[in-house]
């Protein structure tokens, strides 16, 4: 029998361990994926005089110390994959000398890259000797590159760093003749036994509380870049010393670790990406915080990926958000040994539920330069293992480096660039502001533009159409096409049918307003948002627009007329503005009047300082009348006047009469020519009435009787001194209108007048009003009057408007 066989027959197995869920995942990945993400090459540079034999010996001792260096993974012909630990195992050394071939500096690098690429291609054989393939390359007499092929199925990132440190500690001792044997470590078996007795109840409670009420988690859509064949794409950002130091200070200021700070920043980036205040991601933890003896010296696959939930209120400050996150982390570390499957079950989800699909890695395991014997060991390069589509990796040395790595097979470059850009924007926000609220951060970082394919979640189904595709009607003309484009942009939808109702698509009033703005911009036509009440579809609105275009109106929209109530079967009522130019005191009348009557208010231009106001009552009236007859092309026109607008009513009537139309002037309790009020003959009436009132209710009487005159004389000064811009505009208009009325000559005669008068204390007052109108009637006199229980200044207000409306209805002529 050959010796080797007999050696193999000795107790060749020290221990057998099952694979954890994560290890099973890595094995599966190793066996199925072309690009084994578990494989990595640890590299460092050894500067100084190297004793190769001592290095080999140091490794041999380290292999004895760490059981997983002596293990292999087995899955063939067995039910469940296993890790088998051997009592001893020799390393394979590949020693090369490239020191005489490097005339060109870059040649070494090229060769090295080529070698590593080949190694990557070969990978490791998990079932034979996976962790003990070493390459030592002599670059210069005293410069060596050491490359160690590793696989994450057996060793996590912390482990490789622990092992390298052990190797060079032993090498140092060997060189100093100081080595007295290895320190024995507790076996993995002990660790597993210890783990079994951890109370799962508290862990379950913790995870359960953490994910209470979590909505469907938002995941990166891995379908977004399906056609790409490229592998992982990386953006690396090395922060300079100054920025690194400043960021460390930011963490200190918020009383959190750098790890938490970066997690917070990453969460906020995800918040903006998904435009949601509740996000989840995976966080790589060392798995070494459980309090098991010497765990910080153990190697193995302890690392775990734990779910993190980051939710916030916009009222939160960045500080409170971070400390909440840090508390969750600290608590989570107590329960970090549990698999995601277990956590999923605890939080009431399916075992294989995808709680997150992006990974956060904070690498702060000690990759610091080591002094060992005559050597200086520097320039460590590890590698990261990930099977997640989106990864954020932070590396802390003197300076901070972070990397964004996405699986380009599934994630688009646009997403990658957006994440990078937004993270940078967030960094500079934090560096430039001492105290910052989340509100501010949200406002400052634009959300990721969600095209439908970026978002996968159950919610997505609500973005899909439920309508029957047969109901789809495509645009039939240019107007419909233009409208469809506007709707598509506003709703963020495609395939809108021209028969779809605006409201059935989920439209609300703000969207309505925006739509009519777009219509004005694109089609150069101004429609009131109320158009939608009767015309809800693209087809219907397009009809309104084309009718509008075909009609003889030269203007794009009504300039003066505001429909307060657009529908009605009988002749509409046109209400002319009062002295201030405003018309909206008529709104209660529009509500109160019988629904058979439409009600239009007529408002002057120049009210808001945007256009030049009319310079005479005559021109003003002509313009108003032209618009009125567009709305009511036939039948008697009913125009209501109130306060200062009497003259306008008179001029409209006269102008339209010349066009062959009949006009009925409905007068709301106003004397024809207001200057008559100041006539000496009427002064006595007013004073006696005023005094009667004054005794019972002085303030009311003051307002009612001479209110508008106080306004006339005192208000300008008041406004000049204290008025707002709005009031000043109104006042300017009012004064302008007063001027126009004062200039008006009252030469025109009219045919039909209907008076609606309020009860006055002194009957002479109403008689004066009637008389003033009789004065301007033409030969064929036609005047009616009715008296109502209301007061002049309040006749259009809620309490009295019903009675006013009733009286007006009776005055309207068909």
């Amino acid at each position: 029998m050959p010796t080797s066989m007999s050696e193999d027959k000795k107790p060749k197995i020290e221990a057998i361990y099952p694979l954890t869920v994560m290890q099973q995942g890595l094995l599966f990945h190793h066996l199925t994926s072309e690009n084994d993400q578990g494989f990595l090459q640890v590299q460092c540079i050894l500067e100084g005089v190297l004793d190769i034999e001592k290095l080999k010996e140091a490794w041999a001792q380290t292999i004895l110390k760490h059981e997983f260096l002596r293990s292999s993974v087995h899955w063939k012909k067995i039910e469940k994959p296993l890790i088998i630990v051997r009592p001893e195992k020799a390393a394979n050394w590949n020693i090369e000398d490239w020191s005489n071939q490097q005339n060109i500096a870059s040649e070494f690098d090229n060769r090295l890259q080529k070698l590593k690429k080949e190694a990557q291609h070969q990978g490791v054989t998990l079932d034979t000797n996976p962790l003990l393939q070493f390459t030592l390359i002599k670059k210069e007499p005293n410069v060596h590159y050491f490359i160690w092929k590793c696989h994450h199925i057996l060793l996590d990132g912390w482990s490789s760093s622990i092992i390298i440190n052990d190797v060079f500690k032993i090498y140092n001792d060997l060189c100093a003749n100081f080595f007295s044997g290895i320190t024995k470590l507790p076996s993995h078996k002990l660790y597993l036994n210890w783990k079994k007795q951890i109370d799962e109840k508290t862990a379950e409670a913790f995870w359960n509380t953490t994910f209470l009420d979590l909505d469907t988690p938002l995941l990166f859509n891995t379908q977004q870049n399906k056609n790409s064949n490229e592998g992982y794409k990386k953006i690396e950002n090395k922060l300079n010393l100054e920025t690194s130091t400043l960021l460390k200070k930011v963490a200190q200021r918020h009383k959190v670790t750098l790890n938490t700070l970066f997690q917070g920043m990453w969460s906020l980036t995800l918040h903006r990406y998904f435009n949601n205040t509740d996000v989840t991601f995976g966080n790589t933890v060392s798995g070494r915080s459980g309090g098991f003896n010497n765990i910080e010296s153990l190697s193995g696959m302890f690392a775990n990926v734990l779910p993190v939930r980051a939710s916030f209120d916009t009222d939160d400050t960045f500080t409170s958000f971070l400390s909440k996150l840090q508390r969750q982390q600290q608590e989570a570390r107590k329960y970090e040994h549990f698999s995601n499957e277990k956590i999923n079950t605890w939080i009431g989800r399916d075992k294989h539920f995808e709680l997150f699909n992006s990974l956060f890695i904070f690498e702060n395991f000690p990759w610091k330069p080591i002094k060992s014997g005559a050597l200086e060991v520097t320039s460590f390069e590890g590698g990261v293992t990930t099977t997640y589509p989106v990864n954020f990796i932070v590396k802390i040395l003197d300076t901070i480096t972070y990397e964004l790595i996405v699986d380009h097979k599934t994630i688009t470059e646009a997403s990658l660039l957006w994440l990078d850009k937004s993270f940078k924007a967030l960094t500079s926000l934090l560096l430039n502001h001492q105290d910052i609220t989340l509100d501010y951060i949200i406002d400052s970082i634009p959300k990721f533009e969600i095209t439908e394919s970026n978002l996968t979640s159950k919610k997505q189904k609500y973005f899909s159409t439920s309508g029957n595709p047969n109901n789809y009607v495509s645009p039939k003309n240019e107007i419909e096409l233009a409208l469809t484009k506007i709707w598509e942009a506003l709703f963020g939808l495609t395939n809108i049918s021209t028969t779809d109702s605006f409201f059935d698509l989920g439209g609300k009033s703000l969207l309505a307003v925006r739509m009519f703005n777009k219509i004005e911009e694109k089609l150069n036509i101004k429609l009131p948002p109320t158009t939608l009440l009767e015309h809800k579809s693209i087809q219907s609105i397009a009809n309104v627009i084309s009718n509008h275009n075909n009609s003889s109106v030269t203007e794009n929209s009504w300039k003066y007329i505001i429909p307060l109530k657009a529908s009605g079967t009988k002749n509409p009522l046109f209400c002319i503005h009062a002295g201030g130019g405003h018309v909206f005191f008529y709104k209660d009348l529009a509500d109160a009047i019988n629904k058979e009557f439409a009600l239009y208010a007529v408002q002057p231009t120049g009210l808001f300082g945007e256009e030049k106001p009319h310079q005479s009552i005559e021109i003003m009236s002509k313009d108003y009348a032209d618009e009125i007859i567009k709305i009511q092309p036939e039948g008697t026109i009913n125009v209501m006047v109130y306060c200062f607008s009497t003259g306008v009513g008179v001029e409209i009537a006269s102008y339209l009469k010349s066009k062959g139309r009949t006009v009925n002037i409905i007068v709301a309790d106003t004397i024809a020519e207001h200057r008559l009020l100041l006539d000496a003959s009427r002064l006595s009436i007013r004073i006696s009435a005023f005094l009667k009132r004054f005794t019972s209710n002085p303030f009311k009487a003051l307002n009612e009787m001479i209110g508008y005159r106080i306004y006339f004389h005192l208000k300008p000064l008041w406004i000049k001194l204290f008025g707002s811009l709005e009031e000043k505009n109104t006042e300017k208009m009012r004064l302008h209108l007063v001027q126009l009325f004062n200039k008006y000559s009252w030469q025109t005669k009219v045919d039909t007048v209907s008076l609606v008068l309020t009860k006055k204390i002194d009957a002479r007052y109403n008689n004066a009003i009637i008389k003033s109108w009789k004065n301007i009637l033409s030969g064929s006199q036609n005047i009616t009057s009715v008296e109502i229980n209301a007061k002049h200044p309040t006749m259009f207000e809620a309490a009295e408007v019903k009675e006013t409306a009733l009286a007006i209805e009776k005055c309207i002529l068909e």
Partner: protein, 246 residues
Amino acid sequence: MIWKTVLKRPYLYENQVHLWKLKISEFEPYFEDLWNTLSTQEKEKANKFRFKKDRLCNVVARGVLKKLLYSYCNANSLDIQYTKYNKPYIIHDSGICFNLSHSKDCIVIAIAKNIDLGVDIEFLDKNTEHEDVASSFFATEEQKALSELKSLDKALGFYRCWTRKEAFIKALGTGLSFPLDQFVVSLHSNKATLLETKWSNDEKYQWHLQGFTPNPGYVGAIAIRAKKVQIVSFEYQLNIHQSLFP
């Protein structure tokens, strides 16, 4: 504004307005139950929505509104009617009146006794053409106030202005038939004020306007025709939903 969680529906005092908020997605699993509370007409209306998300919103809003109204009115059935401007209302001895608004994943419902009220919430969408809308629909003074804001605050300012105006016209009950430039509201963060109404000098004194944040990323406002009024806000959660009869 603090949104209290309560175990049972609180008593509504005369001078109070109760403001309820809820997340639509939280009630998605209960779609069936809510659907069953709707009348045939309500179901027909819900079915007309082309998108499930809108249908979900409509059904949740209507279902929850009915639950709340039945509870406040202590009634087994109520006839929700509409004014000619499409504002829903009920006629009930208790004097209960209400107003509802929804945006994206959020619904708010305001309830009071014999008080005109209107509520509006909007999800803050930065892509809205603020300036265009403001210049066509806002009062000059509001446009000026908006233009004075820092660019970062403009979107928020716009939405504050919009929701306040919308809440006000919803309280008036006139909807979009009412010209938005005929009254002026403040855009300030905390103080929501009706500054001026063009048709009356005194109307502004009758109103109480209040801004609020229903959920992060949303802007909301409530308008109440009453000066001395207390707004109490609650989170409408599943437990309260289940506690309400029927």
